[in-house]
């Protein structure tokens, strides 16, 4: 009966879309997963209880725990398929957008301030827009690999951020590109044949030859050749400001023309001589298409081709880790399969899922959370270090982002509110400035803001807004309260709770950490819970104070922090504490749950 039901569901739910129903892939993946576990002799865990699944669903798909009203809505829903419907509703929601942004920002190393004074805000805007529009992964990657022109001339130019992030480092950028989008580490082969993997220095150089000639520029360029003398005559604050303005109007990527790289002078292998032209070449089959013009288009076409299984597997494996807690291949960016051999069944099916769903990240996620495997109980045993199927969900510490965003869900009235900052003040400046005198004029305005205080900012709000973005700050709404990680500066400043909890500094790919530290324990014991969760304006505190009954307060507390009602023994403990010690007892329970291992883990 089930296959028939499945088929009917397919017809109803996905009519009008040529892509196969994600449920079909989920069923096939489940079969492969069970076979793999059976072969390893570790039977799969049973399915988890629905409370655990609720919290897992929110954390995996919304990047935060649910609010009390959201838990109550779940409790009121009595339909048997409520887990699947919740997952479908969360995917693509504003909460999902915030979480996916952070996930991609860690991967791409997004910063509010890129190197050489280049503001990151245009890239941030572009990324937000791509997430909100659910831009397919292949198109998303192509846009960034081929971005050309000025960074701040228009909103769609934000895609230049990926290359400007590595301005002046074309070889490193090639290594980063392979690691980011192909899950393949070729960086070692920049100087010598890779010691542990297959890549040779020649292969690295051929790969880098596609993009190395796309020069990143950070100065205003030829049209502004009088600028230098004008700036040198100015006062030091204006000179500094002129560099900032120069970058705003100058930061750009010139199209690549050459599709070869000369072998460096220290070439040590017989496969080339120093100075010899090494032509651009794909790392593995299929071959890159032949075309005239900027060779990066050939690179992008090859990389994102549906025939390029490694590209599909790399993103599929990343989503797999995000959803199941542990990659099918670990580390996720160190795939070692021989690209000339067929993939094993499970990775092959995962790669096919990505392609058949049209590189749609939302539908790839949906397919994986529709598996039975995603609903399995917590696994406390070993996980395969080089990646693979885990019999259940590994008990992991919340990521820094999920931890912070969950606190925001507890404290804020609108936890998923979008950021109030965008790069439009920079685009406006870019439009206005056409000649050296205008650069100097803008620099004077910018310099006047320094030390001018609030009055200077009021007098020139346009430049004040631009200056704020250049400094990597975010505009705050009045009485905004806590905002999620995606709406904070990227990354949050050093010393911010997010950083203490292990947020990536965005210097390296996926550089977040879940390592426990004493600093985190101090922050949670003596800062975060008292100062934010129990602050007067915190939603939790207001709600708790509005409830009078200790039992009702206890229930609210457990729903808010652990996304489930208290068990009887927990309720008794809490009620006794509140009755004995009043508000102190209530607040200490908040402190206790906020510091508990149940809060810290996703199971």
């Amino acid at each position: 009966m089930r296959p028939l039901l499945l088929l009917m569901l397919c017809l109803v739910a996905w009519a009008g879309d040529s892509r196969p129903d994600p449920r079909l892939a989920a069923a096939e993946l489940d079969a492969l997963i069970v076979a793999e576990l059976a072969a390893a002799g570790t039977p799969a865990q049973r399915e988890v209880d629905e409370w655990t699944l609720l919290r897992r669903t929110w954390l995996d798909l919304a990047g935060r725990i649910p609010t009390v009203p959201e838990v109550r809505a779940w409790m009121a829903d009595t339909a048997p398929d409520r887990p699947a419907r919740l997952a479908e509703r969360l995917i693509g929601s504003p909460a999902w957008n915030q979480a996916l942004f952070c996930w991609l920002a860690d991967l791409l190393r997004v910063q509010s301030r890129l190197q050489d004074r280049i503001p990151g805000q245009a890239w941030i805007d572009w990324l937000r827009q791509a997430v909100a529009a659910n831009q397919p992964w292949d198109a998303f990657v192509r846009a960034q690999l081929t971005a050309t022109g000025h960074a701040f001339s228009a909103a769609e130019q934000g895609a230049t951020g990926f290359t400007l992030r590595d301005a002046g480092m074309p070889l490193d950028h090639a290594a980063v590109t392979a690691q980011t989008f192909l899950g393949t580490r070729i960086g070692c082969a920049q100087c010598h044949d890779h010691p542990y993997d297959r890549w040779t220095r020649r292969e690295f150089t051929s790969f880098a030859a596609f993009s190395a000639d796309a020069r990143t520029e950070i100065g205003p360029g030829r049209d502004f050749k009088d600028l230098k003398a004008m700036v040198e005559a100015a006062e030091p604050p204006v000179r500094n400001a002129a560099r900032v303005i120069g970058t705003l109007i100058g930061a750009r990527i010139a199209p690549a023309r050459k599709d070869w790289l000369a072998a460096p002078a220290d070439w040590q292998y017989p496969d080339a001589k120093p100075g010899e032209r090494i032509p651009a070449q794909a790392l593995f089959a299929p071959v890159a298409p032949v075309a005239n013009g900027d060779p990066r288009h050939r690179l992008a076409a090859w990389m994102t081709s549906p025939a390029n299984e490694r590209f599909a597997l790399a993103i599929g494996n990343r989503v797999w880790k995000r959803v199941f807690g542990h990659g099918l291949i670990e580390p996720v960016d160190d795939i070692r399969f021989d690209p000339n051999e067929p993939l094993p069944a499970l990775p092959a099916r995962l790669a096919r899922l990505v392609v058949e769903q049209g590189f749609d990240l939302q539908r790839i996620h949906l397919a994986l959370v529709l598996t039975t495997h995603w609903r399995r109980a917590t696994w406390h045993g070993e996980v395969p270090v080089a990646g693979g199927v885990v019999p259940g969900r590994p008990a992991l510490r919340l990521s820094a982002t999920a931890w912070w965003d969950s606190l925001v869900a507890i404290c804020a009235d609108q936890p998923d509110a979008a950021s109030a900052t965008d790069a439009s003040p920079l685009f406006a400046l870019h439009q206005q400035i056409r000649e050296p005198a205008a650069v100097l004029e803008a620099a004077k305005r910018l310099a006047a803001l320094r030390g001018g205080g609030g009055a200077a900012m009021k007098a020139d709000p346009e430049m004040a807004a631009a200056a704020q973005i250049v400094r990597g700050q975010q505009r705050r709404r009045p009485n905004e309260g806590l905002v999620r990680a995606a709406s904070l500066p990227q990354p949050a400043p050093v010393g911010h709770p997010l950083r203490i909890l292990g947020q990536s500094d965005r210097e390296l790919i996926d550089n977040a950490s879940t390592q426990p530290t004493v600093t985190q324990a101090l922050l949670l014991m003596n800062g975060l819970i008292d100062n934010e969760v129990l602050a007067r304006q915190s939603r939790l505190r207001r709600d708790l104070e509005a409830l009078r009954e200790p039992a009702a307060q206890a229930e609210h507390l457990w729903l808010a922090l652990l996304s489930r009602p208290p068990r009887a023994d927990e309720r008794d403990l809490a009620v006794a504490e509140i009755q004995a010690r009043g508000r102190d007892g209530l607040f200490d329970l908040v402190w206790g749950l906020g510091n508990s291992s149940a809060f810290r883990l996703v199971r």
């Binding site: 960086g187 426990p516 004493v518 101090l522 402190w591």
Partner: protein, 418 residues
Amino acid sequence: MDLSRRQVLFAAAATLGVGLLPDFAWAADPPTPAQPAAPARSLILLTMAGGMSHLDTLDPKPGRPVQGEIGTIPSVVDGVMLAATLPRLAQRLDRCALIRSLNSNQGAHEQGMYLARTAYTLRGTVRHPALGAYAAHLLPRLNPTLPPFVTIGGDSRHPGAGFLPAGCSPLPIGDAEAGLRHAAPSTGIAAERAQRRLALLGQLDAHGGAPEAASVRAYRELYAEAVKLMSSQDLAAFDLTQEAEALRTAYGDDPFGNGCLLARRLVERGVRTVEVGLGGWDTHDDNADRVRGRCAILDRTLPALLDDLAARGLLATTLVAVVTEFGRSPVINVRDGRDHHPACFSGLLAGAGIRGGVVHGASDEDGAKPLRDPVSLPDLQATLAHALGIDLQQVVQAPDGRPFTVADKGKPITSILL
């Protein structure tokens, strides 16, 4: 392992009825130096993140085209020149040992710094402990309440404790000037209530009833450490305002200057290892300008640290090391920058157990490759560990039973050790 090999050889010699011929000796393995009589108590590790240009700092090549626009200056040590970016350090080189023949096979930042910190290559399958974590694990704790390992201004993914217990992981301080935040209960929370809270937390965690995951255990250990730290008599160590203004100015009022001053205050109170980071060395463009900018900081703070430690008698017990993940290319690229160059770079050691005024190893005429006495990052790590009195032969097992040794069989550089 060395011992068992010798035993095998002796057994073989006896069976064959021959004596041990000189060329049969283990000449390839220089004898491990005896443990130092007075090991360093503490290590201050200064990590120059991004890849410090050796040609423009510690290993200039006067008169060679590769030298670029940064000139060279003599130092107080006869015949040893430094780049003109480090005039104050040049005046103190008699207290320092230079290594000019470092080399690595890791040309990417993450992999390079991981090797510099752990002496092992970054692998997906295991996380190796940083030297500071090994020191915390293997050496007695000198201060019962301050953590034995502190990092200041480091990056977000330090290898930390690696596979060692969570208690060996560093206490990360993001901003030295802000010091250790949240070290006292929040305003209005008396000691008694803080105790009550901890008891309540114990009850709530016990009610969870789930099997204890490794991550749960790790946090419990660290909460215990945190409580210990809150009660420490030495919390004042983190308060830089207790220092005289003149000294603060000498160190420099920037994150690195403040970090080094904090490092001194911590080693003074028995913290074993303090790592202070100075980033920004990835000078792919405008190398000369950028290196000058970095050196303006390094050449103010490092001499101030050495002087301050010496004045307090701490230089005799504190080892100071300047390390980086790789050097930078002799070839200056089209953007006036230098690219990554793991084949040859430099480091500097000073203080406890270190012979001053010596140069170990040399690079070739362009600083492209070591000319003699090449030193690997594991060798450098072995030198530091040996100076701290850590037994390099001791096998430490990871939880999965795999054996590791501190510095991964690197050989200490005996010529620079006292």
